[in-house]
């Protein structure tokens, strides 16, 4: 097995200052623009104006995380995006409450 080193020159931390375009988000999830539009419609990812052109939409790391999780739920559990949105909301709430319990010194497990 051979090895070599490549130095990456284009490292960007995805954020609101360095966001992903809608087609980047779709590509990162192995999906298409129509799928991203459905994410927006379901509120799984947010844009300032859902009626604006998808070309104007921008997404940060939290949106990418939500989109990837929705994709996995859709693929592995066969759920629709409306159900995925509810599952993700519940998942975030469970994690938030577990963090609160941890801060209070209780074991959440």
């Amino acid at each position: 097995m051979s090895s070599y080193t490549v130095t990456s020159t284009t490292t960007i931390a995805v954020s609101s200052a360095n966001p992903l375009a809608a087609h980047d988000l779709a590509h990162a999830c192995g999906a298409d623009l129509e799928w991203v539009a459905r994410l927006v419609e379901m509120g799984i990812v947010m844009v300032p104006d859902a009626m604006s052109s998808p070309d104007d939409w921008r997404f940060d790391s939290a949106a990418l995380q939500s989109a990837l999780e929705a994709r996995r739920l859709e693929r592995d559990f066969g759920v629709g995006l409306d159900a995925a949105a509810l599952i993700l909301d519940l998942q975030h709430e469970v994690r938030r409450l577990k963090a609160v319990l941890k801060q209070m010194g209780s074991d959440s497990n």
Binding site: T10, V14, C29, G30, E74, D76
Partner: protein
């Protein structure tokens, strides 16, 4: 490298139907999903389940895996599961291509085993190469764990990626690529670092995909992370808590700040150092949780001091239990 028995992982027979695979995965995923599971090894079990499901729910991958398993059963290239001696036999996957359809989602193999990468990474790559159309390469996903200090100050780290490239004879060979990755200052957990062009190669002259690295923070001996906020236990003596004090506290960004402990502070009191958590817009805070540490009464002088304190400041911490007269 261990040979992975994916059927055993999902608790099904090799003859299981697609529906059986789906049911087994969903049932076990509910049991081991880290958000709901009480099992101590939930995270590792969920990772194994995802890997087994990724192969067995895909007809092409499953057929290739079954062929491989049959050869392993005949003794080719195999050590049994757990022996660590498995190597895929040369040409084991000839005749198979692994296509990633539009509904199959991202190539998120970041957490999968070396076995998976060596067997299915190769097949997926060749499948992609043989298609006759133009398409940008797939994006890939992986995770990188860094310290809190590195997240704040930025760091350069090397990661090793496994890829298939043609060797001197034009034959596909596994190549370890080492990427030197600059993590910018001020990243937070869950943030993605995007490395342009470091995903799968494009087809028909199209651009390569990107690599997304998800930032994870390593456990820290002092700080606990919640979003961008950091929590630290701050031990103080009884006299510092009672009388108030100025104490020095290390901050994750480096340096030391002086913090005022107010008089009559109780154990568990939370002090906030605004903006001293992880960077961001807005930055997180550093919370100090007061913990009163008792000096041991292991000398005569210390014992006398405790006795004098008891006389000078009579105090019943169990008054609310209303046990007097019971």
């Amino acid at each position: 490298m261990d040979f992975k028995d994916y059927y055993k992982t999902l608790g099904i027979d090799p003859g299981a139907s697609e529906e059986d695979v789906r049911k087994a995965y969903r049932k076990l995923a509910r049991k081991y999903h880290p958000d709901v599971s009480k099992e101590p090894d939930a995270q590792a079990r969920m990772r194994d389940l995802n890997e087994a499901n990724d192969v067995l729910r895909d007809k092409e991958k499953r057929a290739a895996y079954d062929a491989l398993a049959a050869r392993v059963a005949q003794g080719y290239g195999a050590g049994p599961e757990g022996s660590g001696n498995y190597q895929p036999p040369p040409g084991w996957d000839s005749g198979f291509e692994f296509h990633r359809g539009p509904a199959q989602g991202p190539a998120d193999h970041a957490d999968f085993s070396e076995f998976f990468s060596s067997v299915f990474g190769k097949g997926e790559h060749r499948g992609a190469q043989s298609r006759q159309y133009r398409a940008r390469g797939e994006d890939h996903h992986a995770a990188i764990e860094i310290s809190i200090e590195d997240a704040i100050k930025g760091v350069e780290r090397e990661i090793v990626l496994r890829a298939i490239e043609a060797d001197a004879k034009g034959q596909p060979a596994i190549v370890n690529r080492t990427l030197s990755v600059k993590i910018p200052a001020g990243v937070h957990p869950g943030q993605f670092i995007r490395l342009g062009g470091q995903g799968m190669p494009g087809q028909g002259g199209e651009a390569a995909g990107d690599l997304y690295l998800e930032v994870r923070l390593a456990p820290h001996k002092l700080y606990r992370v919640d979003g961008r906020d950091l929590y630290m236990t701050l031990p103080v003596t009884p006299s510092e808590a009672a009388l108030g004090a100025q104490v020095q506290v290390p901050t994750p960004g480096g340096g030391v700040v002086e913090v005022t402990v107010p008089p009559n502070a109780r154990s568990g009191l939370k002090l906030r150092l605004k903006g001293r958590g992880l960077p961001g817009a807005p930055p997180g805070h550093l919370y100090l949780l007061l913990e009163i540490a008792l000096p041991p009464a292991n000398t005569e002088a210390a014992r006398q001091a405790y006795e004098q304190l008891a006389k000078a400041a009579p105090f019943d911490p169990r008054q609310h239990l209303a046990t007097s007269g019971v």
